[in-house]
């Protein structure tokens, strides 16, 4: 069975075509198993790796890169793929198949992206694809092909038929976006909206594509167009409201069974790969839950790791039995997913999946309300926990007794040939005449207090310089290093967060943190906690590791999106460093992260870093004590080597005279 046919076959099955002779439950189980099996094997293969849509922050960063890439400023184009047609076709079952449909769409889009192309999921049912190197007509043709392919797989239209129902004309990347006072993402969304209004579909092209045009015939269309059923997955507020209504209906409290399905262990089991398959796993879990619900039942997501399920007409015992059936089904389907592990590059660790889904009872409304209330008030209290203090006066900053200066190092974005950002490094001239950077300037006397002080002062200086730049109408992305040791200790983190609380809003949009010294064996949960504390204050968080590390699986899902190494102190032979660089980049690519390298001290290492595939490399200091870095700009390739060549010439000259 071809991939497109197989997918439509599965969609028809989950959409409700009944087989005579089977009761509803048997049939649902059979359909689900068949559907998942055929879907997992029939999805069209991605030519390259599956590229997920960017997050808002990453997208904004990419846009920034495109828009500031000099002469390519207005070359790029944006196209929209709108899935409303698909959604309308499968409205009744969207809760069950929606995410799977999105995954299929993402696979198709991935297959047609060039290296620099990016896309983002906008709203519920659309994707914006940015083709930074294509003018509008070419981008339109490419997007038309993507739309036709999606239409072919999901709506059954012939592949050679251009399907403009899914594609909206969009707009050229425009310098005007840079001049907006809002965030780039907001400016982008406004531009999308404007383009959509400009090209609103005519009544003839805006319909569902005509039931008669569908090859699968009227029976399926009739069922899909039947009376809509309320979505049984509710938000926590709607869930509570539904329970209230159920309670009021009976006048005797909340009857029915309430169960908590805890999938924390499932998430932990796939922790290292969650960014790649998490959505698929969650879709499977939700599909199974929904398959076992009747029209009086509702469920909600519970703190990201559990589902709270209300069975409207079942006793707690019956509800528990259903929940155990759900557990078994999930177990079986996840085992199938595991068997597909090679394709997903998942470690084939055999675990007893039966034990990974835990069912708990939670029978009464008051307890649910209490839990919902606790969840909300807990969040409020946490925000209030740190009293902000004003520390931005330069007097106070100067009061920090560290005798240091600061140096900005440019970071070259190799693929786009721009200086993309700068790193603010504390620096100190040592008695032997050498300049030390970062914690190296503290010598061997490193303790928590001095390290925190160094990090505080670096952040203060970064923010001061950035604020000064903004006042002068300039902008630049700056990386501010912070030590893991500072953040891992309660006192250190509290002090650092106090400084963070005073970062101006404008600065946050252009500031990235680089966590230095993150241990290799750190728990992902703790990493996520640290990163989570930093994220509200910046646009992204990166982390620095030793060059000999090549596995970064435990960083997936922690919020870190850039990993790098500093080799300035490496004493290994150059050939060994080159091999390590290759392995480091491969490891970073394995978890779909970008990689950077700092401290390149020879021409060979610079070339090798570029050849190894590092996305970013840090060059020489702009100047010894830079008051502020300049605006993002292009660089010439030889700039990368100029300081190294000058140094080499000096060494040759000294050797000749000495």
């Amino acid at each position: 069975m071809g991939a497109a046919k197989s997918i439509q076959h599965w969609l028809r099955k989950v959409a409700g075509i009944h087989h005579p002779g089977l009761n509803d439950e048997d049939e649902a189980a059979m359909e689900m198993a068949e559907g998942l099996e055929s879907t997992l094997t029939a999805l069209p293969p991605t030519k390259g790796r599956l590229r997920r849509p960017l997050t808002k922050d990453n997208f904004e960063e990419k846009l920034w890169g495109f828009l500031t890439a000099g002469d390519e400023l207005t070359a790029g184009s944006v196209q929209l793929v709108n899935l409303m047609e698909v959604h309308e076709r499968f409205t009744r079952h969207w809760g069950r198949i929606g995410e799977m449909v999105h995954m299929l769409v993402q696979m198709i889009i991935s297959d047609h992206l060039a290296e620099d192309d990016v896309y983002i999921r906008l709203r519920e049912h659309s994707y914006a694809i940015v083709f930074p190197g294509l003018p509008l007509p070419e981008a339109e043709s490419k997007c038309a092909y993507i739309a036709a392919k999606i239409s072919h797989y999901l709506l059954g239209t012939p592949m050679e038929t251009s399907d403009d129902r899914l594609q909206s004309i969009a707009f050229a990347l425009d310098e005007a976006m840079l001049n907006t006072g809002d965030s780039l993402h907001e400016a982008f969304c406004q531009a999308v909206e404007k383009a959509e209004n400009r090209t609103a579909p005519s009544p003839t092209t805006g319909s569902v594509g005509g039931a008669a045009a569908q090859p699968e015939g009227p029976a399926f269309v009739e069922m899909a167009a039947g009376e809509p059923v309320a979505d049984c997955l509710l938000g926590s507020d709607a869930f509570e409201e539904y329970l209230e209504l159920a309670s009021a209906d009976t006048g005797a409290g909340c009857v029915g069974g309430m169960q908590i399905l805890d999938i924390d262990a499932v998430q932990q089991r796939y922790e290292a790969y969650w960014d790649r398959i998490g959505e698929q796993v969650m879709t499977i879990v939700q599909m199974v839950i929904e398959d076992h619900l009747s029209k009086e039942d509702r469920y909600t997501k519970w703190e990201g790791k559990s589902f709270l399920i209300y069975f409207g007409k079942k006793s707690p015992d019956e509800a528990k039995k259903v929940c155990h059936r759900i557990t078994r089904e999930i177990t079986k389907l996840l085992a199938e997913l595991d068997s597909d592990a090679d394709r997903l590059a998942v470690d084939h660790t055999i675990l007893d999946l039966e034990r990974t889904v835990i069912v708990k009872e939670e029978p009464h409304l008051p307890q649910i309300k209490r839990l919902l209330g606790e969840k909300m008030s807990g969040g409020v209290e946490r925000v209030k926990a740190r009293p902000p203090t004003k520390i931005w006066s330069s007097d106070q900053a100067d009061a920090v007794p560290l005798d240091i200066s600061f140096s900005y190092w440019p970071v070259w974005y190799v693929r786009r040939s721009v200086i993309t950002t700068s790193v603010c490094l504390p620096a100190k001239q040592m008695p032997d005449g050498r300049t030390r950077y970062g914690h190296g300037l503290l010598g061997k006397q490193v303790n928590l207090s001095s390290l925190v002080e160094l990090d505080e002062k670096t952040l203060q200086r970064t923010c001061e310089d950035m604020s000064r730049m903004f006042e002068n109408g300039r902008k630049a992305l700056i990386v501010c290093p912070v030590h893991y040791y500072t953040l891992s200790k309660p006192d250190g983190r509290k002090r650092y967060m106090t400084v963070c609380d005073n970062i101006p809003e404008m600065v946050k949009k252009y500031l990235s943190f680089e966590v230095v010294g993150l241990p290799g064996e750190i728990s992902p949960v703790f990493t996520r906690e640290i990163v989570g504390d930093l994220q509200p204050y910046c646009r992204s968080v990166g982390a620095q590791f030793p060059l000999n590390r090549s596995s970064f699986g435990n960083l997936a899902g922690t919020g870190i999106n850039l990993i790098g190494a500093d080799i300035s102190d490496q004493l290994l032979p150059e050939s060994k460093i080159m091999r390590l660089m290759e392995q480091f980049v491969s490891g970073a690519e394995g978890v779909k992260m970008e990689a950077y390298i700092r401290g390149l001290h020879s021409i060979s290492l610079v070339t090798s870093a570029v050849g190894s595939g590092f996305d970013y490399i840090a060059g020489p200091a702009i100047q010894e004590d830079s008051p502020s870095p300049d605006y993002v700009m292009r660089f010439e390739a030889e700039d990368l080597f100029s300081h190294l060549i000058a140094r080499q010439k000096m060494e040759i000259s000294e050797a000749a005279t000495g």
Partner: protein, 124 residues
């Protein structure tokens, strides 16, 4: 008779280049990385060095830079297929760093021999 030095870590490429150039009447020497190449150049003073860019030990850009310092009279031809991501623009970089001509792999024998002849003719 002109002397050609081939610096490439790929044995097959070295052999191919040797066969082509010996057939053309050149004297050929080989080196498998930049370090050996610079030593060989200092020893034999070639008229032309063909340098691959991405090699272990010492790669091409550094090698070209050093050859330029030690061989004032030799011509340099840089060859490369690009890095893992093919985005580095190594050959343009090599030209800026002192290569007299560049060829992107894969290249044809005719293209190679014409380029080499033109480079050596220019030297005279």
């Amino acid at each position: 008779m002109s002397k050609v030095l081939i610096i490439d870590d790929d044995q097959n490429i070295r052999t191919l280049l040797r066969v082509v150039h010996e057939a053309g009447g050149y004297t050929v020497t080989e080196a498998q990385d930049g370090n050996m190449g610079v030593r060989e150049a200092q020893k034999n003073q070639p008229d032309l060095a063909i340098v691959d860019i991405l090699m272990p030990e010492k790669e091409g850009i550094q090698t070209i830079h050093e050859l330029k310092n030690s061989l004032t009279d030799a011509r340099i031809l840089a060859i490369s297929g690009g890095g893992r991501k093919g985005e580095a623009g190594f050959l343009q970089l090599a030209k800026k760093m002192g290569a007299d001509e560049v060829l992107a792999k894969p290249f044809g024998v005719k293209e190679l021999t014409e380029t080499v002849q033109a480079l050596l003719a220019g030297r005279r």
